[in-house]
């Protein structure tokens, strides 16, 4: 438990987060690049959708990340509310813009994919609507953080919104089973064999894992910036910039 305690120390976190960011960034970018290459080049053409299905390799990792990102913010929000851990508060602020941009990407690529396959850019079905609400939740966290002057009050408000809003995550996930509309059902996460060939599935899983690592990298980097700014009056930050 000693390492956990040390990790709570802000100067220590600032120091070790830099190499950790690289450890996340390099395999993240390589995996995502391999996954997208595999999806665009190596995966066979889908027998129903032709080459349009290749949008999958950007759409599904983005959609996965939109859910993963918000869930991680809700966990951090819980930690921030119960234990008042400063790093958990900073995590929420740093993760929100990254999560919001990938939610936006999931919506846009889904819309572009929907046009040739469904014949429409948008329908107000359960999956699309709940994903749009997720984008508004992310934007709400960002707006809340910007609107409240006191950093501690802002952090508590954001943590509360992150925790309450997480109810939307299972709704998004199960929406395609509860309401059967245009969006297709689960392909990867169902029990038993996935309903996908391995040479289509492996690049997808690589891209999803790569995106997740990239999310960790970007969020960690954002945390470092937030931390510097919030601790700008503390001695350890001043010492960082005192010589040179």
């Amino acid at each position: 438990m000693v390492w956990l305690h040390r990790f709570g120390s802000l100067p220590y976190f600032y120091r070790v987060s830099r190499p950790i960011a690289w450890v996340l960034a390099v395999p993240g970018v390589l995996l995502a690049a391999y996954g997208i290459y595999g999806g665009l080049v190596e995966a066979p053409v889908d027998y129903q959708q032709g080459d349009a299905f290749r949008i999958l390799y950007i759409h599904v990792p983005s959609a996965w990340l939109s859910l993963f990102g918000y869930t991680s913010m809700a966990v951090a929000g819980f930690v921030a509310l119960v234990w008042r851990l400063k790093l958990a508060e900073i995590f929420i602020v740093a993760a929100a813009p990254v999560g919001a941009s990938f939610t936006f990407l999931a919506l846009v690529t889904g819309s572009i994919w929907g046009k040739p396959m469904w014949g429409t850019w948008w329908v107000w079905d359960a999956r699309l609507t709940s994903e749009l609400i997720l984008l508004f939740l992310y934007l709400g966290v960002i707006a809340l953080h910007n609107a409240i002057e006191s950093p501690r009050t802002a952090a508590r408000a954001c943590a509360l919104l992150a925790v309450v809003g997480v109810i939307n995550v299972p709704i998004i996930h199960y929406s395609v089973e509860w309401w059967n509309t245009l969006h297709q059902g689960p392909t990867v996460t169902r029990f038993g064999r996935p309903a996908m060939e391995m040479d289509m599935l492996v690049p997808l899983l690589c891209a999803a894992l790569g995106f997740t690592l990239i999310f960790g990298w970007l969020t960690l980097w954002g945390m470092r910036t937030q931390l510097l700014w919030r601790e700008r009056r503390s001695r350890w930050v001043k010492r960082l910039f005192s010589d040179g």
């Binding site: 032709g50 949008i55 846009v108 572009i112 510097l228 930050v237």
Partner: protein, 50 residues
Amino acid sequence: MDDFWAMGGYAAYVWSSYGIAAVVLLGNIFGPLIAHRRIARRIKNEEFDD
């Protein structure tokens, strides 16, 4: 190679998706780097607006 770029007639949909994804990814990478530099410079020069 032409076949690859043609994407079986879905080129406009596939490549616009990947193009937007590239823009979002690059923005996510360079935005925080620039923000970090700016904040570091403000702290260094003690430019606090409060």
